[in-house]
Amino acid sequence: MMESRRFISRTPLHFTILVFAAIWLIPTLGLLITSFRDPANIAGTGWWTVFPKLFSGGQYSLENYIGVLRGEGLARSLLNSLTISVPATAISTFIASFAAFGFAWMHFGGRKILFMLVVGLMVIPLQMTFIPILPIYSKLKLAGTFPGIWLAHTAYGLPLTTYLVHNFMAGIPKDLFDSASIDGASPFMTFWRIVIPISVPALASVFIFQFLWIWNDLLVALVYLSAKPNVAPLTVSIANLVTNRGQDWELLTAAAFVSMVLPLVVFFSLQRFFVRGILAGSVKG
């Protein structure tokens, strides 16, 4: 892109980008720094005042984190978030893979229409589903349980996940299937020993995408876990913290950061997959 650099003068370009980057970084930075300061400092001075003496040790501590994990029960919530997100994502990806393969490569009546329906349902607002399901959940004693929310998240995620995986699987060359057919592979064998191994990059992207979505979810947790504190994930706990301890920034910032660590780690180490998951199906080529 050598030539185009002549055409937009460099200073305004860099300046604009800098402004955007600043707006995007500063809020998070504020949160991070504050989470290490003690309550007195937080209430007294703005967090930006640490900058002249940014690296002098005395003013930081892990007190807030300990307080929020032990005192406010966020350690429990962290565990809950994991217990909710990992199985739900795994089950969802598993079922979606089978369905995507069926829609892409198997022959049955109404295949096209059913698939369009599945994908179209992507847009149903979740609000449309809570009222009829909750009474059934109560009766089946699923309300407030992990299996209950696993099923819910799986079902809600199926349209998009199936669509993304299908997109990938449909692109596998037909020759491979012909060859497997002649080699003697049954549809299941073909699926399990050829299609799945080839689809690993796509499945990884979808898995990470789904995982973050469920980890960051608030609404479904609020609805299905009946605000029972012992099964509440981080999102619910922090929301409650904001309501009850709205001015205790030392707790809030630490809590928020606890909820952000895992997604940020996943994001930075696996950004490739995450982005690919988003791009799948959005742009041709």
């Binding site: 937009i8 370009l13 980008i17 955007f20 980057a21 995007w24 809020p27 998070t28 504020g30 949160l31 504050t34 001075t45 703005g46 967090w47 393969f101 829609f103 198997m106 022959h107 049955f108 059913l114 369009m116 599945v118 994908v119 179209g120 992507m122 847009v123 149903i124 607002p125 609000q127 449309m128 589903t129 809570f130 009222i131 009829p132 399901i133 099923l151 199936t162 449909a170 299937f177 057919s181 549809p187 973050l212 960051n216 608030l218 609020l222 999102t235 922090i238 929301a239 904001v242 309501t243 920034w249 809030l252 910032t253 909820s259 997604p263 930075f268 982005v275 791009l279 959005s282 742009v283």
Partner: protein, 296 residues
């Protein structure tokens, strides 16, 4: 297509279809029906009476509901234009600098965190202290530094606080739009742009007459995705203001009717309103998808 008995295919798609039928199809139909019935926390049954269009009248005439509808409209317009607009600008600008990857990551990070986390971050940014003591929220600190009075950002109704909430959303979702638009932008053959420049077009003209039209389809898809997101917006409002001070939105209203006021009838009606608002975009998406599949 694979040679196989039909029944085996159903084994593959069956579980997914069953889950979807139970969790998406069946409830949708039931909720629509329920919206014509009254208060209570059961689906149907003896305690639930038929009320016809009473819930619907409420949804479209009640003051708070109207505020919510107005706010969602504001969200739809502001949020979508900014996320897509900024996303587009950033996609084009960042393509021209060496530090593109880092910059993109910075803009994209908020997409990885929860809206709850973002709400806490920005609540802190908007923090208010009375004028005579030091500010701890960076926005008010800037205002004071420039000689102004601190503002209760989340309390200033009716426009300022809503815009402040929308800013959080924009902060979170611009990265998403940017990534998609950037990929589409990089897909434009460089030779097309070079040809335009040789033909004498200025950078602005190239942008307006070549880049924009080619990105329009992708931008349309991204925009519809954003609008659908924003009509359902819940987390940010729930955490930061819980709908108070005139910041109510439809999804939050529905939640309140359901869990605070125990009026499943009204909650259903509100949910159906959401569905109706989203329906046109759903149709657009399905049509586009059918066109894609048709070429396979």
């Amino acid at each position: 297509m694979l040679q196989s008995g039909r029944w085996r295919s159903w084994l593959f798609v069956g579980p997914a279809l069953l889950l979807i039928a139970f969790f998406l199809v069946y409830p949708t139909i039931m909720t629509i029906a329920r919206s014509f019935f009254g208060r209570g926390t059961t689906l149907f049954g003896p305690s639930v009476e038929f009320v016809g269009f009473k819930n619907w009248t409420y949804v479209f005439t009640n003051e708070i509901m109207l505020t919510a509808l107005r706010n969602n409209a504001l969200w739809a317009v502001l949020f979508t234009t900014c996320t897509v607009g900024f996303g587009l600008i950033l996609a084009v600008l960042l393509d021209r600098v060496k530090y593109e990857k880092i910059a993109k990551s910075i803009i994209f990070i908020p997409a990885a965190i929860s809206m709850v986390g973002a709400s806490v971050i920005w609540k802190f940014v908007y923090a208010y202290r009375p004028a005579h003591i030091d500010q701890i929220g960076i926005l008010n600190a800037l205002v004071v530094a420039f000689g102004g009075q601190p503002v209760g950002w989340l309390i200033q109704r009716p426009w300022i606080n809503n815009i402040c909430l929308i800013v959080v959303g924009i902060w979170m979702w611009t990265g998403f739009c940017m990534v998609i638009l950037s990929a589409a932008y990089k897909n434009i053959p460089k030779q097309l742009l070079e040809a335009a420049r040789i033909d004498g077009a200025s950078e602005w003209r190239v942008f307006r007459n070549v880049i924009l039209p080619l990105l329009a389809p992708t931008a349309a898809v991204v925009a519809t995705t954003m609008v659908v997101q924003v009509l359902k917006i819940f987390d940010i409002v729930y955490v930061m203001t819980n709908g108070n001070y005139s910041t109510e939105v439809i999804a939050n209203r529905m939640y309140k009717e359901m869990f605070n006021f125990f009026n499943y009838g009204r909650a259903s009606a509100i949910a159906v309103v959401l569905l109706i608002l989203i329906a046109p975009f759903m149709i657009f998406n399905i049509r586009r998808f059918a066109r894609q599949e048709g070429s396979r």
